[in-house]
Amino acid sequence: MRTRLAVSGLAKTFGATRALVRVDLEVHAGEVHAVLGENGAGKSTLMGVLGGVLAADTGTVLLDGEPFRPRSPGAARDAGVSVVHQELAICPHLSVEDNLVLGREPTRFGLVDRKAVRATAEKALREVLGTAASRIDPASAAGSLSVADQQLVEIARALAVPGTRVLVLDEPTSSLAKDDAERLFVLVRALAERGLAVLYVSHFLDEVRRLCDRYTVLRDGITVGSGAIADVGNDDLVAQMAGDRSRRTTARAGDEKPSARTLGDVVLTASHLAGTRLPSDVSFELRRGEILGIAGLVGSGRTELLRAVFGLDAVRSGTLDARAPMGMLSEDRKGEGIALALSVADNVTLSRMPAVVLPGAQRRATEARIDELFIKATPEQSALELSGGNQQKVALARLLHQGADVLLLDEPTRGVDVSSKAEILALLERLAAGGKAIVMVSSQFAELVHACDRVAVLRRGVLGPARPVAERTEAMLLEEASAP
């Protein structure tokens, strides 16, 4: 087999975060190669480098033996590397066919050749959808399609590029229905047979097993394993992805669980809750003094679940019984969690502010929260000046100040350093002991096993039963979350 893509020693740092430390990857022409790893392992960064969105700090990439260092997504595509990104990348106002040829519109005498556009679009759609292609009208606005069809349009766009040698698919099935996914598998195999190298990023191990020839596992930005997929079991793959953490957290779970917490009344009950798209079926019960963890992969509907419970998104069906005031912490700290331009005092008191704000009273109230949560800040400081961990504590302080008893926390430790992470988790434990009820969503399963009393797995919009954390390990959660 000929080596199509050879990545060696790739490293990429964002500020203080080392996204890629040392990534090696070899992909042959004519194979489907799985790239595996937990959330945050560096898969997306790697795809960004290959797709020309990011430039690596060090390391080399060879494409058919030639150095490959694209300076833009267009350059990567022209060199033969097409990437289908996980987050939807379509222009909603443009027609489907205009989306399919975007950036490389065929022209005649300086005008866009509509006939050629239509022909290209129909061919690409037929390739991806087969006989089902008729359900997408190439002239309709792409924004009017379902999410699944938008995803298929994106895949078709990558295929419509002539001269593609490497096709990168980042979690392509996360929003597809079963028959569309099946059709995609057939297509991907056929493309590999035609000599394309396909890089396939997925969390779903059975999908990977059916589709891929070989695999590479990333963990914390380092290539930790690779080989033929037929030679390894799923347990082995999961162990490689999770590393020695899975053993460590299992050992921890039993002996250190805070048994001192007493559970109070049920304050939040969801029964068969469904949002407009995600989640599709969510039931759970939450008591005072409890931390309920929700483990889900990207695209499983984690954030949508919290938003639906909190009332930010429409609920299509199901019931929700909330008996205590709720507060929600967004995963998008800078966008939604905190007002960066405002002072710490304004942020803390924002949700419950008297009609007339007296500076003295506001400062005293804020100082009390600062002491309570050990925030390293003064009330007058701008939130912009704080570290990620302290910003997150300010956001939590706002929820406490508003008097929320049920805390819905979306990735509460995202983007904070290790010691702040530990502090925040300890803080949640204290809050629960003080009678708060907490729902915590996290993509860091080790953290859920560490901090929660019970954990439920969210997979493709459906929330499984919440089981005591003593019965769970990180590896078990990962396996359940990535089951087909």
């Binding site: 222009c91 022209t107 005008l111």
Partner: protein, 320 residues
């Protein structure tokens, strides 16, 4: 919309449909109320002539707004053009040199607006708010804070109806520009990229669209068209006036938005912008003919803008 399909042509779904219906309704109403004056063909010709400046500038603004931007400096650019051209004519330059120089200056200003939004990454509102003030100052400086009284050597023919016809050449120039603009927007790669950037800039970049270059070109085009609008303005005024066209940018933006464009980008049409521009002239003229006081005209125009925007929201919700 079943059973009513006209081969996929469904005008009521188009952004320009509601403003066009509104235009006909308002026009018919004024003709009914003042058939002797408003209803005359000469009046229609006059109104078309009075719309040329806003219409030409609105073609450029349509590109800018579809692309997700805004240009507040249009009024200042028009004034600067009248000053630059009058100044060159007064110096004794030939007419073509003066015209080309006037257009070139504001085209460069437009390109600088584009550079401000791309290279300096300042939001278009702020960039063009700044250039609006700077260009106004430049026009006043160049004209010594006075009107420049130059012999405009027949330029006024642009907006004067010929002896054997109704419409002055300027109206045809505006129509030609609108047709060329619509073709550029809908049938060229550049036009597709303008829509793509306004619709989803990140995606456009991922697909290899030259985002920065396209933006700069769009603002430069807006400048060039403001320059041509400025020539029409000079032909009407017959002097270079640095204080002219204050607030014109808001009329131009209103025309584009009434015509169905979205200020968040990705949507809009040249035809709609022309309808929007003409609608506002019709309201103004109609009110004058009926002797409706000026303050009512202002309130009516504002109400029409709000109604158009509300109708557009409704159309979008019902088509989703």
């Amino acid at each position: 919309m079943s059973g009513l399909s006209l081969g996929g042509f469904r005008p009521w779904r188009r952004a320009w449909f509601a403003p066009l219906v509104t235009l006909f309704a308002v026009y018919a109403l004024f003709v009914f109320l003042a058939p002797e004056t408003f209803g005359r063909a000469v009046n229609l010709a006059t109104m078309l002539r009075q719309t040329t400046v806003v219409a030409i500038a609105a073609v450029g603004m349509t590109f800018i707004i579809i692309q997700g931007g805004i240009d507040l400096s249009v009024g200042s650019m028009v004034a600067l053009t009248t000053v630059v051209v009058a100044w060159k004519l007064k110096q004794g330059s030939s007419v073509p040199v003066a015209l080309l120089l006037g257009i070139a200056v504001v085209t460069a200003c437009g390109a600088l607006n584009g550079l401000g939004t791309t290279a300096l990454r300042i939001t278009p509102f702020i960039v063009t708010l700044g250039s609006m003030t700077i260009l106004r100052g430049a026009a006043k400086g160049l004209a010594n804070e006075q009107k420049i009284d130059a012999d405009i050597r027949g330029l006024d023919a642009l907006v004067t109806p010929p002896e054997n016809g109704l419409l002055p050449p300027g109206v045809y120039v505006a129509l030609g520009i609108a047709l060329a603009g619509a073709a550029l927007l809908h049938y060229t790669r550049f036009g597709r990229h303008v829509f793509a950037i306004g619709s989803n800039e990140a995606t456009a970049r991922l697909c290899g669209v030259p985002v920065e270059r396209t933006k700069i070109l769009v603002y430069a085009l807006g400048g060039a068209l403001a320059g041509i609008a400025g020539l029409m303005e000079l032909a009407t005024l017959t002097v270079g006036d640095p204080t002219d066209s204050e607030g014109l940018e808001l009329q131009v933006i209103a025309a584009v938005v009434v015509g169905g464009a979205s200020l968040s980008g990705g949507e809009g049409s040249i035809g709609g912008a022309l309808v929007g521009a003409f609608l506002m002239t019709v309201i103004k003229t109609g009110c004058t003919h009926l002797g409706i006081p000026n303050w009512v005209q202002h309130m009516l125009t504002g109400a029409i803008i709000l109604t158009a925007a509300a109708l557009d929201r409704f159309r979008r919700r019902s088509s989703r």
